[in-house]
């Protein structure tokens, strides 16, 4: 059942967002050090001290670790939600709105891990920090985890008869945008030839279809809209949020591309939000895999099933070599997970906040007032949030 209830609408704000920037190499630093750097930066920018924080929300390191690391004296609420990052934002906003706390430090550390990079497997500290995570698994005869997106990409191509170039446009758009983002890990433009000749990882998806493992972190301050209005940056209001999931949410049991978590997310957001895709100034579809982005375009309502590639071609701005929907709306202007780095959605939310605050530098969308972030994939991780400037 999908409810239109949304008493939290515009009552909670993101007062600030900050990043360490991202590197596609093993940095020689701990995940905690990046989280500390981003957290200290965002609290400074918001003019807050450790004593102003009474809530902590993030995945790794734990909220308890972050509290002691940053000497945050007392908190009355904390949570360690699983990715992607709309989960963290929604949890923090709910806690603020309900009065469990007033000002939440929300963070996400992206970190290169042994299950996705060979060089991390050779790093004893990284290996030790994730023992048992994705190592010693049941062998290759499964599509659980990352392989699931590749498997459904094969189905997407089968059902719609679309060429690989449609996936490639997503990767090229991200790389073009990342060139304007100093925080991005991959800033060299790529061509369709580069895409089509890239190393195959799991057919039908190649290296450029998959997000870039990075070291780095984002951090946010979430508080009441009222309190945020007294802080230095323009408040960004959390307008509506949804975490969509269906019952058959295992990768190989999910019914099909016509019904999964993205559909629930979209139905819920449309029911709860006063605006949708016709009223946004910037769009952030998740891009951990290119197939996810194509599906978000279709499921958000920009076009019909199988038509995302054609839609992107139609809205391709040749001059800037990227997507501009209706000649106006950029898509993942920070470069997304494919090029800024695999932030599991925190980069998308951070860039949305900066765009709505007018702090996006050379990437700034003129007069950006409303943004849509649709984070995550198909199965147990489709999420979305609509944000607007106060």
């Amino acid at each position: 059942m999908i409810s239109a209830r949304n008493p939290m609408k515009d009552k909670v704000a993101i007062a600030g967002a900050a990043t360490t920037g991202f590197t596609p190499h093993n940095s020689g630093r701990s995940q905690a050090s990046f989280v500390a750097e981003a957290s200290i930066r965002v609290l400074h920018e918001c003019g807050l001290t450790a004593a102003d924080v009474d809530g902590i929300c993030g995945s790794t390191p734990s909220a308890a670790s972050v509290q002691k690391m940053l000497g945050i004296p007392d908190v009355t609420w904390f949570a360690n939600p699983s990715i992607p990052f709309v989960n963290h934002l929604a949890a923090a906003a709910s806690a603020v709105h309900s009065g469990l706390c007033e000002t939440v430090l929300v963070y996400h550390g992206a970190y290169r891990l042994p299950w996705n990079t060979a060089s991390s497997l050779r790093d004893p500290f990284r290996r030790r920090s994730t023992m048992g995570l994705g190592l010693g698994g049941p062998g290759p005869e499964t599509i659980a985890g990352a392989v699931g997106y590749t498997a459904w990409a094969s189905r997407y191509m089968h059902e719609h008869g679309v060429p690989k170039e449609h996936f490639g446009l997503v990767a090229i758009n991200d790389r073009t945008n990342a060139a304007q983002n100093p925080a991005a890990a991959m800033r060299e433009p790529i061509t369709m030839d580069d895409y089509l000749t890239a190393r195959m990882i799991r057919w039908p998806l190649c290296l450029f279809d998959m997000d870039v493992p990075v070291d780095g972190a984002d951090a946010f301050v979430v508080t009441t809209a009222e309190r945020a209005r007294d802080l230095p940056h323009p408040p960004v209001l959390v307008h509506a949020a949804a975490l969509g999931m269906i019952d058959l949410n295992e990768e190989d049991q999910t019914p099909g591309l016509g019904r999964h978590g993205q559909h629930v997310t979209v139905e819920a957001l449309k029911a709860k939000s006063d605006f949708w895709i016709d009223d946004i100034d910037v769009y952030f579809p998740y891009d951990g895999f290119t197939i996810i982005t194509l599906n978000w375009f279709e499921n958000a309502g920009f076009c019909g099933p199988g038509e995302a590639g054609a839609f992107i071609e139609e809205h391709w701005d040749a001059a800037s070599n990227r997507i501009l929907i209706n000649g106006r709306i950029p898509v993942n202007p920070h470069g997304g997970s494919l090029s800024e780095g695999a932030t599991q959605g925190s980069g998308h939310v951070r860039e949305a906040v900066h765009q709505l605050q007018g702090l996006a530098g050379s990437r700034q969308v003129p007069h950006a007032r409303r943004a849509l972030v649709t984070a995550g994939g198909f199965f147990f991780n489709a999420q979305g949030v609509t944000l607007r400037r106060d």
């Binding site: 010693g136 049941p138 290759p140 392989v147 498997a151 459904w152 089968h158 719609h160 058959l248 190989d252």
Partner: protein, 165 residues
């Protein structure tokens, strides 16, 4: 039906399936594998199959779920060719390794994921009919599939791009 596998202790079962999610709810499935019987949970109350094993029937909430033998016949629904992947005995990614999700004939949407043996990769496409077979890995049986038809079903292959496998 009692068998040697049914007598396998929980301790030994876990040892035979390192890395697999063996627990109270899935033990019957893994015990079945030891004697090359592919068992999938079916609800005695409403007759609905479900996969992977759960402690109650998701359709009617009955706890009368039993691991029942399935034929293993079905249709390829999803295809991946791994150019790299986790180390596994007998798997050489120099030839991209096929991983398929098969829709079993017992019920629409009831699927099992494994590999396909005995075929060239370019023959493995969505829509192909398969049958169950077994291989051994590190001394433990693994259910796999084998293509049965010579040609894919004509209605279910449109648009499949077969390049670069």
């Amino acid at each position: 039906m009692a068998s040697a596998a049914d007598a396998t202790s929980d301790e030994e079962l876990v040892t035979r399936f390192p890395g697999f999610p063996v627990d109270f709810d899935s033990a019957a499935h893994y015990r079945g594998r030891l004697t090359r019987r592919l068992l999938v949970n079916r609800c005695d109350a409403c007759g609905i199959w479900h996969q992977p094993p759960k402690p109650v029937c998701p359709a009617c909430w009955s706890s009368a779920v039993e691991a029942r033998r399935v034929s293993g016949a079905g249709t390829v629904h999803l295809v991946v060719f791994l150019h790299q992947g986790p180390p596994a005995t007998g798997v050489d990614y120099a030839t991209p390794y096929p991983v398929v999700t098969v829709e079993l004939d017992e019920q629409p949407g009831l699927r099992l994921t494994s590999t396909i043996v005995g075929s060239r990769n370019d023959a493995i496409v969505i829509g192909r009919r398969v049958t169950l077979d077994w291989i051994e890995r590190d001394g433990t049986p693994l259910p796999v599939f084998r293509l049965v038809d010579q040609q894919p079903r004509s209605t279910d292959t449109a648009g499949d791009a077969g390049a670069a496998r």
